[in-house]
């Protein structure tokens, strides 16, 4: 009987077999990498804000303390956003008619608040508490990045569970003396390792219990 398949059918078959293996591997690789990539997590991409507020200018150049605007951060779960008045405390004197600040003045005049875009957010079922992190020597910088170098606020880390757990399992490397948590470009002293060891004891930090589910999910 005649051949059903031509000579190169075997080549095609081999190509299909090895090809599909390759495809599987690639899919697996993508599945692993993509969820962690900035494309999905939105890390590093600045959001357009009604007022182009520059942390770079206010924190980096003017050196205003974080707590001046985010006043709940030491006592409450939420750091809080500054009221329009807080902006105006300075800007009633400075740049009083800069176009850039028009929305702020408008807000004060009309009482209509400025609608900021939320940059760092976690899902509803995650209960994050700013106060405890600040009090245990986790710096603003650790999660929010070098805001003093951000003309527009952007997400510095993925804030994924993986990322949170990284620190909750081994907080040591992210600790600094509590008085320094608000510093931006903080240079660790050379005996930082020793300091951190002491901090863990002093601040009564229990890494083994920091991965309990209800620490974040209630």
């Amino acid at each position: 009987m005649p051949q059903i398949f031509s000579k190169n059918a075997d080549g095609v078959a081999r190509f299909v077999i090895w090809g599909s293996c390759a495809v599987l591997l690639i899919v697996a690789a993508i599945g692993t990498i993509l969820p962690r990539s900035d494309l999905v997590t939105g890390v590093g991409e600045p959001l357009a804000q009604p007022v182009p507020f520059s942390h770079k200018h206010h924190v980096g150049q003017l050196g205003i303390d974080c707590r001046y605007c985010h006043n709940g951060v030491e006592t409450s779960s939420s750091a809080g956003l500054p009221a329009t008045e807080v902006c105006m405390t300075c800007h009633s004197q400075l740049f009083t008619n800069a176009d850039m600040l028009a929305p702020v003045r408008a807000s004060l005049a009309s009482g209509k608040p400025i609608e900021w875009q939320r940059v760092n957010s976690v899902p509803d079922f995650v209960f994050f508490n700013h106060a405890i992190h600040i009090d245990k020597g986790v710096a603003c910088e650790t999660c929010h990045g070098r805001v003093d170098e951000m003309p527009l606020m952007r997400r510095a880390h993925t804030l994924s569970m993986e990322w949170c757990l990284g620190c909750h399992r081994n907080p040591g490397p992210n600790l600094r003396p509590p008085q320094d948590v608000f510093l931006m470009h903080w240079q660790p002293p050379e005996d930082i390792a020793e300091i951190r060891r002491q901090l863990i004891g002093m601040l009564d930090i229990h890494p083994e219990s920091m991965t309990d589910c209800y620490v974040c999910h209630r």
Binding site: P2, I4, A9
Partner: protein, 175 residues
């Protein structure tokens, strides 16, 4: 258009066996037999070596079980140690179950892939299909192929020998 070999067609397994034995006796080595179902005697006559696939199957089984158990161990001891129902992290009895299943799976896959590889399948284009007389479908026909590459192969002679051994048809197969 080179010649691949001679294809002889026989009516029943016995004839095939006879012919094969005969050709072996005449010193032919590069030959193969084709049948719609296994004809056991042929293994001996053609001196087909005992396959080593069982070892591959065993290896596949052990590998599957070991890998999965290692994965489980890593996940409970290192990657995410967590207190589940007051059981120890490495509570092996439940883990064995999954390892067992994985072992079976590994073995089966090794066996299947192994047999295809060893048989060189898929092989969609093969010279034997050039033989007009060769057809699985007609059923009940049993074939013996003497390759032209065989040192003892002589065009006329071999055909004669096959015919004498009771081949219904003897046909040249192109490569």
């Amino acid at each position: 258009m080179s010649l691949y070999g001679l294809m002889a067609v026989f009516a029943d397994p016995e004839a095939l066996i006879e012919a094969t034995r005969g050709m072996r006796a005449r010193g032919y080595r590069r030959m193969d037999a084709f049948s719609p179902f296994q004809v056991k005697e042929l293994d001996r006559i053609l001196e087909i070596p005992k396959t080593r696939l069982p070892w591959a199957v065993l290896a596949g089984g052990i590998a599957g079980a070991a890998l999965v158990y290692a994965l489980i161990w890593y996940s409970v001891e290192i990657d995410y140690p967590i207190n589940v129902g007051g059981r120890p992290l490495h509570s092996w009895p439940p883990f064995v179950v999954i390892a067992f299943e994985a072992g079976i799976l590994g073995a089966a896959l090794a066996g299947f892939i192994g047999v295809l590889a060893a048989n060189g399948l898929p092989r969609y284009h093969h010279p034997v299909f050039n033989a007009a007389s060769f057809s699985y479908a007609r059923g009940g026909k049993f074939y013996l192929l003497i390759e032209a590459a065989d040192p003892k192969y002589r065009k006329g002679v071999t055909r004669g020998q096959l015919t004498r051994l009771g081949a219904e048809i003897v046909e040249e197969v192109e490569a």
